[in-house]
Amino acid sequence: MHKQNKFTVSHAPFWHDGDSIGETNKNIMVAALPAIVFGVFQFGMAALGVICLAISSAMAWEALFQFISKRSIQIGDYNAAVIGMLTGMMLPATVPWWVVIVGTLVSVVLGQQVFGGIGANPFNPAVIGIAVLSVSWGTYFDFDAALLSYEFDFTALAPLGALDHQGVAATELFSTQSLLMGNQVGAIGSVFGLGLIIGGLYLILRGYIRWEISVAYIAGIIITAALFQMSNPEAYAGPMFHLFTGYTLLAVFFLAPESSSSPVNLIPMLIYGIMGGVMTILIRNIGAYADGTLYAILIINLINPVIDMIRPKALGKGVNNA
């Protein structure tokens, strides 16, 4: 008998398509790059500082929490980095450093780790962080006041704020095209519509987000905003205005499709997305907040487990041919 090697014995399948959590997260970060780069270009190095601090503090919070709770430290999967990045993208460039750090603490720890870590968060962690910040220190989210020291060569107003204060006439200050090209005041990662769309399409084409959710969300926005506008053009802004302002596109491509807090079956995905769009517009048009996106996301996250029960029958279920 000749020498016996030890072989790897394990179960099928023996191949894998190569995807992993780290790979997915890296791609999400790549997809966000155009919007972030534009934000830095628009708002200066302060914006870069916020994003970097958000990413690094989120990773540190996650590592710290995993260390304290004796879980294995999984910093290499970029999970916290993505949460931190999205949290940072929703902040204005002028926000003080400690707000960023508190924000990522809430996002990572309260938004995800306390529920059991990756995969167990019922809500989008970054949205939790920003929602808490905006309730606690709302003044920093008044983008007009926050960015007062800047000089822009376009209408230096946050479009949704302007809509809220000045009514529908304000929408004429912003052409769809200039909104798309980022000529608006807002959070670092949310102003460059075209960049977010490119990033979103990339994620959809590579299969890292579920396109049904994004498409349904857009449909929800457009249909609801159009209905409002038709009912009273004097009082309500049109669909394109809503689509390209505030956190809408960030929500469509980065926040709503977050995997743990969104459904996976077709009909639930459509309901979830449409609901997101509808709620966003409802809160904007008749609610108290200028931008309803955060609460819309939290609401659809909340109903996700219930609607995701609607699923097709499995093969050979419910047929009688015995």
Binding site: N5, T8, S10, H11, A12, P13
Partner: protein, 400 residues
């Protein structure tokens, strides 16, 4: 033919019972070897020689089998009555002699007195990715295939015989006049349950096998082996195998059943090193061998060598609900939910609420899992545990 053959018997070795074959026994070519007097499963000796060892063999989930080592004597002496089966081409006689032919013809299933089989699908498509054994055979020996199909029809009395072949096959016209099912190369479409659903109008029912629904699948190699056995009036033993090296190079070899696979690899000049993986069957549904002494089996179509560096790792991440598994599952199983219950060993819930029983064992969910959870392993374990549980409950009910 190698000097030493290893024959696997699908029956556990029981130390309290006396075996009927013993070490030192002489076996003749074509002789059926039984482990115990009351055994129903047998192996057929491919040549004459001496049994030099009988030992337990452990498969998946600790299922036990037994292996015999047959040292050949070079005389190739045939057993008495080796060609008796050929006198009357009837099912019982065939089952009594030809069960271990290359391709593993499902004779036991067909010959069972309570058999519900009323349709046979002869598969010229391979059962997993990478394998080309059956497609190769389907393109050769047309006459033998036709002959074999006729014989099977006569023996079983089943006239509904279908031939599943690749749509792009060059000699498609040769199959004219037969009931053909043309399949694309898409993996999902070649799964037995999908063939039934898409081409035969039989809706699979969760928790029932194809056999329960009256359909028996049979490889094309089994048909050819039967034809040859009846022509030669003796069982045949050469199995066609596709061997895929680490570089993806595909070679086709013919080896006697019982040949330890290291012989084949040596002959092809393929080397293995520590921690490599030897995959038997395909990359999605096969199993991995722990020894190079693993023998060629009647149903072993493919051997794949995987370099230790190419082995994808699994992780201990939980499901992140990415939904890729749900998207790809051909059986509509909510894998993202199922996996949570399987990880918690809640098998009954897994069946009752999350369709574990609808799964058709394709392995694709594991293949795509972003969190790299060994889902398929959980699924197989879950099904195994569930079967054990049901069996236990049945015995309890009987005893009560």
């Amino acid at each position: 033919m190698p000097p030493r053959l290893i024959l696997l018997l699908d029956e556990a070795l029981d130390s309290t019972k006396e075996t009927c074959i013993r070490k030192g026994d002489i076996a003749k070519k074509g002789e059926k070897l039984f482990l115990y007097k009351e055994s129903t499963c047998y192996v057929t000796a491919p040549t004459s020689g001496t049994i030099t060892s009988i030992a337990p063999f452990t498969g998946d989930f600790g299922e036990n089998a037994t292996y015999l080592v047959l040292e050949k004597d070079g005389k190739d002496e045939p057993a008495d009555g080796i060609s008796d089966f050929a006198d009357v081409p009837d099912l019982a006689a065939a089952d009594g002699a030809l069960r271990t032919l290359p391709g593993a013809p499902p004779l036991e299933l067909l010959a069972a007195p309570d058999s519900k089989i009323n349709k046979i699908v002869i598969s010229g498509m391979d059962s997993d990715l990478m394998s080309t054994t059956r497609q190769y055979l389907a393109s050769k020996c047309m006459d033998d295939i036709k002959d074999g199909i006729e014989r099977i029809k006569n023996m079983t009395g089943i006239t509904d015989v279908f031939m599943a072949i690749p749509e792009k096959m060059s000699q498609l016209s040769a199959f004219q006049g037969m009931n053909t099912i043309k399949l694309t190369q898409d993996y999902i479409g070649t799964l037995p349950q999908m063939i039934m659903k898409n081409h035969m109008g039989i809706a699979p029912a969760a928790g029932t096998s194809c056999e329960d629904l009256g359909v028996c699948f049979m490889s094309i190699e089994a048909v050819l082996s039967l034809t040859r056995a009846y022509k030669e009036k003796a069982p045949v033993f050469d199995k066609i195998i596709t061997v895929i090296g680490k570089d993806g190079g595909i070679k086709r070899v013919s080896a006697v059943i019982g040949t330890p696979i290291h012989r084949i690899l040596t002959q092809l000049g393929l080397e293995t090193r520590e921690m490599d993986r030897i995959i038997i069957g395909g990359p999605l549904e096969g199993f991995s061998a722990y020894t190079l002494y693993h023998p060629v089996q009647p149903d072993m179509d493919t051997i794949i060598l995987q370099d230790c560096e190419d082995i994808p790792g699994v992780s201990d991440y939980p499901c992140i609900n990415c939904g890729k598994c749900v998207r790809i599952c051909p059986a509509g199983v909510p894998v993202n939910l199922l996996v949570r219950y399987l990880e918690a060993n809640l098998y009954q819930e897994a069946v009752d609420s999350f369709d574990l029983d609808a799964c058709i064992d394709c392995g694709l969910c594991s293949y795509v899992c972003t969190a790299r959870i060994p889902i398929f392993q959980y699924i197989r374990l879950g099904k195994h545990e569930q079967l054990m549980l049901e069996a236990e409950m049945e015995t309890e009910a009987e005893n009560a």
